[in-house]
């Protein structure tokens, strides 16, 4: 497994850059992963990342984009629970990029 260095810690990632151990995640690691994805983290980005972490802790999976959109709409309102908003934040795929930054595995049910 490849490793990356973040703030003096050595962290294992898979060949696509997802964290191997969820427990390695912290905000510094998230910032590092965001830079790798060329995403400038704002409060709105953090909101989605934190939402994903909560979803994972409740269900033990990373949601498919369709499920994520619906769940965000329910919790944060339709202004945020739509594809346009989420793709503006994470242009290369909200489920994929936001999950990676959140330290989660690749979403289940993404094709």
């Amino acid at each position: 497994m490849p490793t990356v260095e973040v703030a003096g810690k050595s962290i294992e990632v898979d060949e696509e850059g997802y964290l191997v151990n969820l427990s390695d995640w912290d905000e510094q690691v998230a910032d590092y992963l965001a830079k790798e994805e060329k995403v400038e983290m704002t409060q709105n980005h953090w909101e989605v990342v934190n939402f994903l972490r909560e979803y994972y802790s409740e269900y033990q999976i990373a949601p498919a984009i369709r499920v994520l959109t619906k769940a965000i709409a329910k919790k944060l309102g339709p202004d945020k629970g739509n594809n346009k908003y989420l793709y503006e934040l994470f242009p290369y795929g909200p489920a994929k990029q936001a999950c990676k930054i959140a330290g989660l595995p690749k979403p289940t049910g993404c094709i």
């Binding site: 409740e58 269900y59 033990q60 999976i61 949601p63 498919a64 369709r66 499920v67 619906k70 769940a71 289940t108 049910g109 993404c110 094709i111």
Partner: protein, 131 residues
């Protein structure tokens, strides 16, 4: 058979899929992989249900602790099915009772039905995938 299939608005064919789960959740990879297949199948907007028979009923047990066997505890993931619009979960009554279980032991709401009822339902499906 084709003439019985419902057509959705986009013109795609919607088939009735049943995912039949017969194995205990841990010890083999069948239950976890099977659950992932179900979650992926949700992307295709089909009419999906799941049935739990034999040791498969154990997949839905509440209060599972996997720390001793070094496997991910995916029991909570069954609760995510609703968000994937998979809401038809059937448990065979005979299997449940033979194991001393009741509906209260399950982590999600299920419909309990007899072996004969389940067999009839199985007969209505276009596709049955067993694991």
């Amino acid at each position: 058979m084709t003439d019985e299939l419902e057509m959705e608005e986009g013109g795609g064919v919607v088939k009735k899929f049943m995912f039949l789960n017969r194995k205990a959740p841990y010890g083999t990879i069948y239950a976890l992989e099977g659950l992932e297949v179900v979650l992926i199948s949700a992307a295709f907007d089909q009419d999906v249900c799941m049935a739990f028979v034999d040791d498969g009923v154990y997949q839905l047990m509440k209060n599972v602790d996997t720390t001793g066997i070094d496997m991910k505890n995916f029991s909570k993931t069954y609760r995510a099915l609703e968000g994937y619009d998979i809401e038809k979960l059937y448990v065979e009554k005979e299997s449940m009772e033979a194991r001393g279980l009741t509906e209260d032991d399950f982590i999600v709401d299920v419909t309990v039905m007899s072996s004969a009822e389940l067999a009839a339902l199985m007969n209505e499906q276009d596709v049955v995938i067993s694991h």
